[in-house]
């Protein structure tokens, strides 16, 4: 029983990071049908910037702020680079963002070198409860992810701007007719995705490390989690991320730790064949 709970704690913590990345995919895809493969790189970049800032002697909150703001700026830049493309299709967006993600990786390799590093853990003491060892950083990850998920869901479902974004997703032409700027909506969605990627990166770095190439695995797992949620549902993305993390942890614990990284891809294939609309499809008729 203790083992199961311990594996669940570890799994939910990893899953929360996947959930943040998955939400990043979802907010962009649901507005403009763009699959943004630089999402994982946002997280890697955020971690590396925060490490450099704290090593330079800045206090942790300031370092986190600088890092997240920089990543949001990079995300907006990515959107600006994509904006001259007149007829954006999902396939075209995959190819373009794959190129951008390779360029970002190369830049990170040049700046930070090949070795991976971890950010200092956030304040708090690790503790043991009912024989389960809980790291303070796990609680930070789970807590912040929960807060961010609620905030993003609230933004999309309750605010006027959020509703405007959903309108762009539903009917771009009609949205433009009633005076909503579709390109502005695209820019905003990239900004939110940058924020989500940045938060994921700084939360994950103390436990899961940051390196120039760590965005690839994070991005892939996040994408699988987003697909679990049908790519257009915030709740689905969160559920998908947590499920994937827990499943990985249980497989590693009870079957074989060598299969951990295979889980995501098996899940991806099963979902795409059996439920291409995502596991929560019947609940969400409209996007987001």
């Amino acid at each position: 029983m203790t083992d199961l709970l311990q594996l669940l704690v570890a799994g939910i913590s990893v899953g929360a990071i996947y959930a943040l990345i998955a939400m990043g995919f979802t907010v962009i895809f649901s507005v403009s049908e763009v699959i943004n493969l630089t999402q994982g790189e946002f997280a890697a970049l955020a971690g590396l910037i925060a490490i450099t800032a704290t090593t330079a002697g800045l206090p942790l909150p300031l370092a986190l702020l600088i890092s997240v703001v920089t990543v949001v700026t990079v995300a907006l830049l990515v959107r600006l680079i994509l904006s001259p493309v007149k007829r954006m299709t999902t396939l075209l967006s995959i190819m373009l963002t794959l190129g951008l993600s390779t360029a970002l990786k190369a830049a990170m390799l040049l700046i930070w070198g090949p070795e991976g590093r971890g950010l200092d853990p956030f304040p708090g003491n690790d503790f043991v409860v009912w024989g389960i060892s809980v790291r303070a950083q796990y609680l930070w990850i789970i807590g912040v992810t929960a807060a961010v998920s609620v905030a993003v869901a609230w933004f999309y479902e309750r605010t006027l701007t959020g509703k405007a974004l959903r309108a762009c997703a539903e009917q771009p032409t009609a949205a433009r007719l009633v005076g909503i700027s579709v390109s502005g909506a695209g820019l905003l969605s990239f900004g939110i995705a940058g924020l989500l990627g940045g938060v994921a990166g700084v939360l994950a770095s103390p436990v899961y490390f940051s390196a120039w190439d760590s965005g690839l695995a994070l991005g892939l797992k996040g994408f699988v989690a987003a697909t679990l949620g049908g790519l257009t549902s915030i709740r689905g993305a969160v559920a998908g991320g947590v499920m994937l993390g827990v499943l990985e942890s249980l497989v590693a614990g009870y079957i074989d730790s060598g299969f951990r990284d295979a889980v995501a891809f098996v899940v991806l294939i099963v979902v795409l064949v059996a439920r291409p609309g995502g596991i929560l499809r019947q609940h969400s008729v409209a996007r987001v």
Partner: protein
């Protein structure tokens, strides 16, 4: 069929042309007294999972090349160093190897890890290219003609682990090992070496060389309740495993491999490393060795040179590169760049005092290091210290 025949003819012609070309070059370089540079190729795991090994190795090779050339080169010939990054992948290593072989460099140093080195070995053997690997697993050189290596064999490390376990009266060992080629065969070797003393592996857990989450593996290790546990990996994974070990409150003593001899390990593991015991090369405790130690002078000089150039302490992996370079340089100095003569010279190395140990090569043993090339070290307050006997 016709097409195949045509292809066969062309391929044969190409192979012949290459062979003739190679012979011609051999004739030119054979005497070792030509004016051209000595061309050293290096294939290292600079990016990817082996980065904490490949980066210091690159730094060392660059430093030694610069120093040798400043001192006038070897026999009035400058050294020309070509470094390739295999991205810690087997196919990357094989590709880089083919490239350097086709450039007909005089020797190849690398790779940093076992898997990548094994990918290069058959190419070195068939091209008759001297190669000095810096990897640990004995399979890299076992039965090889053209391949040598500078890192201590895993068998030498495990012999130290078994000796230590025996001295403490531990019988049951839990093993958490790297799932790549570096960790292959560790459990089997441990069982074989420990058989006489009733020491055996009771559980084996694996982790990917770039893994960051170790809860699952360490839970299974904890449940096995072994007398001691051995973590077999390289940083940062080995350090994260060490952290998870302490976080899950496992109280059994823990040992690590010689794969952890760098600052990255200490920085990443932090206080969780305190108290572990590992058989590691003497480099990390160079300042604590008695003056009578035959390696002391070489070690102290290397630490000083490396510090002066890069303002950081060299790791044991930097030491593997130092040994590989010096072994090659000594051979070139003695016999020039004829590949057959270089190979024969390397096989005759006796008593070369390196960073990793004192080399005694034989036709059968192309590693040349025994279990005395390692000392047991521990970590105290995030610093290396000689382990109390």
């Amino acid at each position: 069929m016709g097409q195949f025949r045509k292809f066969g003819v062309v391929a044969t012609a190409a192979i012949l042309a290459v062979a003739v070309g190679a012979c011609a070059e051999d004739d030119n370089g054979g005497g070792g007294d030509t004016g051209g540079p000595i061309r050293v190729g290096a294939i290292l795991d600079i990016t990817g999972a082996g980065a904490s090994l490949g980066v210091p190795e690159r730094k060392t090779l660059e430093l030694l090349t610069k120093k040798t050339n400043e001192a006038g080169g070897i026999g009035n010939r400058k050294i020309e160093l070509t470094i390739e990054d295999n991205q810690s992948t087997e196919d990357g290593a094989a590709k880089a190897m083919n490239e350097l072989v086709s450039k007909n460099v005089d020797i190849i140093i690398g790779a940093s890890r076992t898997g990548t080195s094994l990918a290069m070995r058959p190419i070195a053997e068939s091209a008759k290219m001297p190669m000095i690997s810096m990897a640990a697993n004995v399979k890299v050189t076992d039965g090889a003609t053209w391949v040598f290596k500078t890192a201590q064999n895993d068998a030498a490390v495990l012999a130290n682990v078994v000796d230590y376990a025996k001295s403490k009266g531990w019988k049951k060992i839990g093993l958490a090992r790297d799932s790549s080629a570096f960790g292959e065969g560790v459990a089997e070797l441990l069982n074989e070496l420990g058989k006489a003393d009733g020491i055996s592996v009771v559980v084996t857990e694996k982790f990917a060389p770039d893994a960051t989450e170790f809860t699952a593996q360490m839970l299974n290790i904890r449940n096995a309740r072994a007398d001691m546990n051995l973590i077999w990996g390289i940083p940062p994974a080995a350090a994260l495993a060490q952290k998870a070990y302490k976080q899950l409150g496992i109280t059994a003593p823990v040992m690590q491999s010689h794969g952890i001899g760098n600052q990255v390990f200490l920085d990443t593991a932090g206080t969780s490393a305190d108290g572990l015991v590992a058989p590691v090369g003497r480099l990390v405790v160079a300042d604590q060795l008695p003056a009578s130690d035959p390696q002391k002078a070489v070690l102290t000089k290397f630490v000083a040179d490396y510090r002066a150039a890069y303002n950081e302490t060299p790791s044991t992996f930097a030491g593997h590169a130092w040994d590989a370079f010096q072994l090659a340089a000594d051979a070139f100095k003695a016999v020039g760049t004829d590949k057959q003569k270089v190979r024969d010279k390397l096989e005759q190395v006796k008593g070369f005092v390196g960073i990793t140990g004192i080399y005694m090569m034989t036709a059968k043993d192309h590693s040349g290091l025994g279990k005395d090339a390692l000392v047991l070290v521990t970590v105290q307050n995030s610093k290396w210290a000689l382990a109390p006997k």
